[in-house]
Assembly symmetry: C2
Homo-oligomer: 536 residues x 2
């Protein structure tokens, strides 16, 4: 069952050159041919095995579709426990491993929902034929099977499976056969770096599946327990973000991703032709979520894709990611927005810790991390206080510039040391480093009513009060070099009476990445898009 | 307070010609100049009024931002009731109407969350000055104000406001002044066609705001009670779709909207250049949601934008809309997918009827509709049965073709008559009219394991079992004229063991449109995108 013989180990490369891409394609072609001939051999072998077997109805390859609605119930592998001893169950899952013991006996480990159970196929008169054992032994890993069998409890604890029972197989049907040779083996993809290093100390070289290989065969890669957990955590963050904001009176909106002109006029955008008009993909829902506030939706949130054409080759940038955005009426002070961020994220983190322990554990097994430290009431520091803390620690920074990634990390470490938290808000940023629509401070035009929120020293949320006065807004846009002609409908929307308002935006992938202290945002994007990747 | 003098009545046009666009721009420019001079006059008038008034602190224009966090509580207009008699309250809202009675008295109707309350500004020694009355009378409609006042209960019922109390104003601050001349008056935009027709019978011509004008000034248009309700209904459908599916074990995913090649290879897509590679915007999350199933997320849903570059000039097509998608493992039969659709939508409709009565009522006041008829267990008919029903009613259709809109409407009427429902499922569609990835029927290759769902005779949901066998899938793709080279990573994803699976997709905007029987999908898209509209 060891998979040290992975046919396709790859070297991790920061950029895929054309040459590398060609090499990859050639390798894939070779793999495909190998798969085809193996598949042909398997088909031939299984075709003859059912000849003259009176028990032929108890096993075999299922047809693609069925006309029957039998009402049978499938038992989940995770609920297979010793209490079910002697019960007949029907399970469906993947062939995680195959072990042919003899002509008369074989084992299948079946996986479903990250749990595994051992299935014993052994010849029994009038129940299991030799041909059926041969059929079982012919199954390739990752094939999908339906198994009917009787639950038994072995005397010795089972080390190779999560469930402590076995299934004595009575019927075995294959729903779909996987190619006999896979580009990635799941157990290789599920291995932690620590396991690889420890094996190496004992002189054993285990396969390490590198990031690009994982992403090239993402459909296999996401079957690992850690990846299953990562995207379940992400789904819950997404849902709870909505659930909590909804309970605070926020309304969910959908704003257009296709925009005339150049989006917010600043960052690199993807351009396209819209029925003859120059258009681009929205770099955020910023303009339209503000317009929704002008349209009297007093508190709104939006979850949707945002697009950045920037050539950022870092661990934390993608060309397409999921934005969690909110915007709200401010009655008097921008701290009202920070209050929402505070309450929302503490509730979110609590939800993950209280209800998704299994998923956090699964991530941690492959990618160990220490639980996020956060306070019941989130720490708020001003930018000036941050500058001062850095200065006292020997790091001089421009008091009206922005922090770079290194400085942010450093400040994060100082904050953790002093306040014992990985999660905090830094507000009153210098006006010069914020977008044109950011409201300047009441008492000092060098600063703004804005904030960033940090997890483990990395920026995760950006927010601010916005300029709601159309005259000042146009002035600020011009001062920031925006072509105001391209945003007239946005500017006009503040002329019909505009609320004081503010909001914030979060990258969903970054929340998951930083909550679990993962080292690359590609791990938290299902099918990532970066400057070098547009597939799968 | 009548707004019969709307400066900007417009003729509805099915297409905006360049000439019309120019005319529109000229009109806008004229309006802008008018607004500017009116604003200048208002500013001049209010600047001098506070001279030598000892009560000057009780009214005026607020600064853009505030440094103070006072902890004051704003009372919502909807909670202003006679029980609050004599209490001092602080409310924030828009100036819905202004009525200057004299130098010593004026009325403001303040609107907040669709509710209105009358505020009385009358001179009182040591409390309200003549200058304050003048300030109040100078406010333009749709301006935003903070009002501090004492609740009083008038002897006569109030006809012009929703709330049956008045506010005796003590303090009045303007947060933001609206332009004195608005392109749309809210009460015009909120008027029903019936009201206009009935007024006409009495010889009175009321302003009718046409669809294009509404969309041009969407930020004003969405302030009407019906529009506020439409998007709150939409938000709830969105949320409950997730909530219900989550309770059924579905995981929320986000798949990329940027795709290499040509999406699913069929429909008209928006093309763009992705870092030198030919790319397009996903016409649906179809391929990636299926790949997520191959990746062992057994049940997934996705809510996100989908893009269609089709030149469809109908009441039911947009170039960008919100797709509600789901995909799931099928254990044996595609009816499992219909079961989910059935349970999901009945629960959704119940939620709207049980918890959003106020919103449905608000829509109905402007756009009257009869409540949706649906059964506790959704009716399922086969396509063949539908063909037969039409035949018996005298309409002959191609038994292996698709229905056109007219035929769908007709069948909807027949179903309503026979089964007393506006909501039903039609399944076993002819294979020839479905996408290449649709599973053919077990017993007849002319049909497929697919279905459409109808509301009020219009298709709203499309679903099917998918082909999970890579050989048949490639065969079907070729037969349907798809360039298989552009979808290799999709095709490959079924080679590593693939579940039987199926799913469905719904357009969010259509659900709201058809639930409320609205006549145009542009009414249910916040900022619609169609072949002629890319703004605001």
């Amino acid at each position: 069952m060891s998979s040290d013989t992975n046919p396709n180990p790859q070297i991790e490369t920061p950029e895929i050159s054309k040459k590398a891409a060609k090499k990859e394609a050639a390798k894939l072609e070779k793999l495909r041919k190998k798969q085809e001939s193996a598949a042909a051999a398997a088909t031939a072998a299984t075709a003859e095995l059912s000849i003259s077997d009176p028990l032929v109805g108890n096993y075999g390859d299922l047809e693609l579709q069925s006309d029957s609605v039998t009402g049978r119930k499938w038992t989940e592998v995770k609920s297979l426990s010793p209490e079910l001893k002697d019960a007949e169950v029907l399970i469906g899952g993947r062939v995680h491993a195959v072990r042919a013991v003899s002509k008369k006996m074989g084992f299948l480990v079946v996986r479903d929902g990250g749990r595994t159970v051992q299935c014993v196929v052994t010849v029994k008169p009038d129940l299991v034929s030799e041909q059926m054992v041969r059929f079982s032994n012919s199954l390739s890993r990752e094939s999908i099977v339906d198994v009917v069998g009787v639950v038994s409890v072995p005397n010795e604890p089972l080390k190779g499976t999560t469930q402590q029972v076995e299934i004595q197989v009575r019927k075995l049907y294959c729903v779909s056969r996987a190619a006999p040779v896979l580009p990635i083996n799941i157990e290789d993809a599920a291995r932690s770096d620590i396991e690889i290093e420890e094996a190496l100390k004992e002189g054993k070289q285990l396969v390490k599946v590198l990031q690009d290989t994982r992403l090239n065969y993402r459909v296999l890669d996401i079957r690992t327990p850690a990846n299953q957990a990562i995207f379940r955590l992400q789904s819950e963050i997404n849902f709870k973000f909505m659930d909590i904001l909804r309970s605070m009176g926020f309304v969910g909106i959908h704003t257009p991703k296709l925009m005339g002109g150049t989006s917010e006029g600043g960052a690199a955008v993807f351009r396209l032709n819209y029925k003859g008009l120059p258009a681009c993909l929205a770099q955020s829902p910023q303009l339209h979520k503000q317009m929704s506030i002008s349209g009297d939706f007093m508190r709104v949130y939006e979850i949707g894709p945002v697009f950045r054409a920037e050539d950022s080759f870092t661990h934390r940038h993608l060309c397409e990611f999921t934005g969690l955005d909110a915007e709200m009426v401010i009655r008097e002070h921008y701290s009202e927005v920070m209050d929402v961020v505070d309450e929302l994220f503490v509730a979110l983190f609590d939800h993950l810790n209280e209800n998704l322990g299994e998923e956090l554990e699964a991530v941690s097994r492959q990618y160990p991390f220490s639980p996020l430290k956060y306070l019941r009431k989130t720490l708020r520091l001003t930018f000036e206080e941050g500058v001062q803390m850095l200065k006292e620690a020997g790091t001089e920074v421009d008091p009206f510039g922005d922090f770079n990634t290194e400085t942010e990390k450093k400040l994060g470490a100082l904050v953790r040391e002093k306040y014992d938290t990985d999660f905090y808000i830094l507000h009153r940023y210098p006006l010069a480093v914020r977008p044109f629509y950011t409201m300047p401070c009441h008492d000092n035009n060098n600063y703004s009513n804005s904030f960033d929120v940090f997890i483990r020293g990395e920026e995760i949320i950006s927010g601010a009060q916005r300029v709601h006065d159309p005259v000042l807004l146009e002035e600020r846009a011009k001062a920031c070099g925006i072509l105001v002609d391209t945003i007239t409908s946005y500017l006009d929307s503040f002329k019909y009476g505009a609320w004081r308002h503010g909001g914030f935006g979060v990258g969903l992938e970054r929340v998951v990445m930083l909550f679990c202290n993962l080292n690359n945002i590609r791990k938290t994007s299902l099918f990532p898009r970066d400057p070098q990747r547009l597939a799968p």
